[in-house]
């Protein structure tokens, strides 16, 4: 027990004895106040009962001077103190439980504070991401309008001049016009690729998926790509494609994928060479591959070839935006496909695999034989 408390309990004990001896309201009040201070200072119920007992016994002894009465009084007060014991134990139990609750609360507060801190930093991160997203969208919006508007006039005027609307040009004029037109086409591709990329990343690119005949789609893409390949003095050839194979794709997006692959292959192909397109069945899938006889993909570039703005040689004059292959990959994957490539000097093949589409009836017939489903 602390020294202060010992002193208090002694004072209380004395005050009690004085009251028992002499009585009176002042003595009772003093004892009461000291008792309260002792309880507040930490004196337990049993200790207080002990003090009461001693004071009572002392007072009785003084007043009655009879051993027998004193003994009875002492027993009575002991009995009284004993009755209080369970309350004291309960109080101590409450104290212990209170201390445990306080510890638990502190632990919870610490955890809550850590969680709140994590939440705040996640919120900050999210806000920062949103800010960056907005910046990016604003930038693309500026590109979209501020670049597209003048480009419409430039590209349009060059296109009309090339159509002969301005009259015949001499050889030098034609070469200059071709150079200007080619480069304006390159800018148009870049702004369109940027827009496609934004659509893909924001999930707003729409895909109208329908079963289409793969062979005729490849033939169309080759026909559409032939003029561009011709300018580069290469030829596009569909070497083989099984008849009757259908894939469930968006035809326009598939044309976009093929245009990208064919244009890349033609670009890297040596003059006079042929770019070969093939389609082959691989179990439930079909692989479309485009092979050129160009120099091959540099080893150090292979890992990031499908990344945005990836170009093996940024200073090269081959004229890509560095977005074509990343867009191709995203489109193919959106149609449940997979893209890849194999490359060595003199032979590079880019390919994509798509699930072959088969009508439900055929799938059901097949399902009767095994559990495999062809309807993807």
């Amino acid at each position: 027990m602390k020294a202060d408390l010992v002193e208090l309990t002694e004072q209380y004990s004395t005050a009690l004895r004085e009251y028992c001896r002499g009585g009176g309201e002042a003595a009772l009040l003093r004892a009461y106040q000291l008792g309260r201070r002792a309880v507040t200072g930490g004196a337990g119920v049993l200790e207080m009962a002990g003090l009461h007992q001693e004071a009572l016994v002392a007072a009785l002894l003084e007043m009655l001077a009879l051993d027998e009465s004193a003994r009875i009084a002492k027993r009575a007060s002991e009995f009284f103190a004993e009755c209080l014991a369970p309350f004291e134990l309960t109080r101590r139990g409450f104290e212990e439980a209170h201390a445990a609750m306080c510890d638990l609360n502190e632990g919870l507060e610490r955890r809550l504070s850590a969680v709140l801190q994590d939440f705040e930093s996640a919120q900050d991160e999210l806000l920062e991401q949103k800010r960056m997203e907005k910046l990016k969208n604003d930038f693309i919006s500026v590109i979209s309008h501020e670049v597209r508007t003048p480009l419409t006039s430039i590209h349009g005027a060059l296109n009309l001049l090339k159509s002969g609307l301005g009259g015949e040009l001499n050889v030098q004029g034609v070469r200059l016009l071709d150079a200007a037109y080619r480069n304006s086409q390159r800018l148009v591709r870049l702004v369109n690729d940027l827009l496609d990329l934004q659509r893909i990343e924001s999930g707003t690119m729409t895909f109208n998926l329908r079963p289409v005949d793969l062979r005729s789609l490849l033939e169309q893409s080759i026909e559409a790509g032939q003029p561009h390949a011709g300018q580069l003095e290469t030829q596009l050839v569909l070497q083989r494609a099984p008849a009757g194979v259908r894939v469930r794709v968006d035809s326009d997006r598939m044309m976009q994928v093929m245009t990208n692959l064919l244009s890349n292959a033609a670009k890297f192909s040596p003059r006079g060479e042929t770019v070969v397109v093939e389609a082959v069945r691989l179990d439930s899938r079909v692989r479309v591959q485009v092979t050129d006889s160009g120099p091959g993909v540099p080893a150090e570039f292979r890992a990031r070839i499908f990344q945005k703005f990836a170009q093996a040689a940024p200073s090269s004059d081959r004229g890509g935006s560095g977005l074509g292959l990343s867009i191709t990959k995203a489109i193919v994957e959106h149609m449940s496909g997979h893209v890849g490539f194999e490359s060595e000097p003199g032979r590079t093949t880019f390919y994509f695999d798509l699930p072959e589409w088969r009508p439900r009836a055929a799938a059901r017939q097949k399902a009767a034989g095994d559990t495999w489903s062809a309807d993807h």
Binding site: H145, R148, T149, T152, N159, V191, N192, Q198, T204
Partner: protein, 133 residues
Amino acid sequence: MVRRSLKRILLVEDDPDIQTVTSMALGSFGGYTVHVCGSAREALDSAASFKPDLILLDVMMPGMDGLDTLKALREIPATATTPVIFLTARVQPADVALYNELDSLAVIRKPFEPTALVETIHGLWARYRDQAD
């Protein structure tokens, strides 16, 4: 029921260079009669007298933009049902969604190939006529 052929096109475009390129392509390759307006106000003023079969409408214009112009054109009897094609550089996904909600026939994205523009419009007109029939 729409039986008439496409002859008269109202081009609403504030950029003078795009006006030149577009009207030249439409006139030279399509043989259309093209009336060029540099603002929404001009278009609204001349719509009743020109009586276009088709309207090509830019979106980003000073003053009234293309979207409000379309709403105002619908209030004029001569252009209340005239098909409108947006010719615009604003082709962000959210923009296109908005054009589709409006009563427009199609959206042609800038930059475009003027030599292919006539063919595109021809195809859209045929589709419009089939649907109207």
